[in-house]
Amino acid sequence: MRPSAFGVALWASACVALSFLLLPIVAIFSELTLGELRAGLTSEVARDALRVTLETNLVAMALIVLFGTPTAYLLASREFRGRTLLVTLVELPLVLPPAVAGIGLLAAFGRLGLLGGTMESLGLDIAFTKTAVVLAVTFVASPFYVRTAIAAFEGVDRDLVAASRTLGAGPARTFFRVALPLAGGGLGAGAALAFARGLGEFGATIMFAGSLQGVTQTLSLAIYQEFDVDFDTALAIGALLVVGSALVLFAAKVIPAWRRSTSTSTTLFAPSASR
């Protein structure tokens, strides 16, 4: 069969788009020899940055999951006035420029900020500390989790929640035994997305936490600092982030499918439409 002009146009556009998206990634790896990669990754800058990134992101993820999960369940399962407004507020950091997030965090928690006086009297000064990195990451990454979690909870068949209640389980037991396990796949995907976003956090962190090696300098910040000092180290860290982010994104896609295949069943019981 002769391909139609439209089909050719689709493929041509897709080739342009994919080439453009892949070129920088290919470039990172092709500019590096294996030796340079090893040297770059074992440099002190890179090792410190990796440690800071993991420490701050793990704490941030814990905070996001701990507070984000109940928030998402509340927003997904209750009908109340202003619900849409609240969901919009939760999602706001998604579209907020990182520079705005950074200046906002400074204005709130900085020494001269809204809560500055209170924090100072408590002997807390968090700007330009590891805590600041955690807050910046939490602020920009949490919407990725909460948004996905709301959709996951909304996807749980309401009849299953109702069944749990009529079987004698109160709201808390229903949450832990029915809603949470059934939304688990979606929650995992959301956590992976938020983690991927947090790993690459740059703008808000550099404004609110600075770029102190070994304290607040994350991998992204280390690339920025190294690129006019030692381009190869910057490239090596870049390569590490590409691989890490790709793995996390892949996990985000695979977790829900894997959960579905092991825990759920036929269409009759598949949690309704939104899945």
């Binding site: 009849d159 109702a162 069944a163 009529t166 079987l167 004698g168 059934l182 069943s265 019981f269």
Partner: protein, 343 residues
Amino acid sequence: METLHVDLDHALRSFRLSLALDVAAETVALVGPSGAGKTSVLRAIAGLLRPERGRIALEDETWLDTASRVDLPPERRRVGLVFQEYALFPHLSVRANVAFGGRDRVDELLERFGIAALADARPGAISGGERQRVALARALARDPGVLLLDEPLSALDAHTRRRVRGELREVLGELGLPTLMVTHDFEDATSLADRVGVLVDGRLLQVGSPSELVASPADAFVAGFTGANLLRGVASASSNGLTEVALDAGFTAYSADEARGRVALAVYPWEISVAREAPDDSAVNHLRAPIASIVTLGNRARVRIGPVTAEVTTQSAERLGLREGEVVVASFKATGARLLSVE
């Protein structure tokens, strides 16, 4: 034995749900068209829907009383609710599903419902009939005081349905619990329920035993639901002392009932006889028309003649040599033709 008292008043989308019903140790079927509010009644009893006004009590245990602001959450009402599509937890095994309601009698229930062999299976891996039994076992594991069944057989195919209906009748008989069942199938209602309540647009049109409903349907909906032929037409007085009905289908029929104006004439298929020529007997109504279809169900044949369906024995159908397309006469007595008002 405890009695369930239900008194509800609640605005649904296009009408008000308003009914009062007592269910003793018996099975009551709520029947009616889709969207008549049947499921809302079950949900209100279970505590999943809060009616604007009402009182729900199991004997002297009040679950809901809007006047005195009593409203127990679902987990504190002793109900066993079997959902239409069973709502089994897909992430739990059959055993864990049953144990969710209560741990004390799990083995006994698995045994009793013949699902012990499936105890470790997930709901997605078992058949529709088995799911129904798991759902019932799970509802009973809580040791409920009331059993609520939402379309318990509708998710099953015709073959399984007949078998499960038999099983269900047996179980309901043994339990002796006040049971309220929702269905849109009159056959399910007659085979499972002691009493049938017809719910249309949120109101109970008629409550009675299945045979009472057939003997004197309150209106055209009940008659149609119980299986009668419904023929619409205009009623007027006739010189023979009967009511003459000019049917919309083009025939004229007579009824012993009094009525004037727009009516629905209801006649049950088993009250219609079929012959080649109009018989010289007590029947006054004779409709002459070709046979549109013949459907055989076991020892009965349903013969579609013009606007009516007649039910005769397969034996009679064979003796008369009935064939589709042949012109025959469908006869029924004026006393078998009930006139019902139509909206």
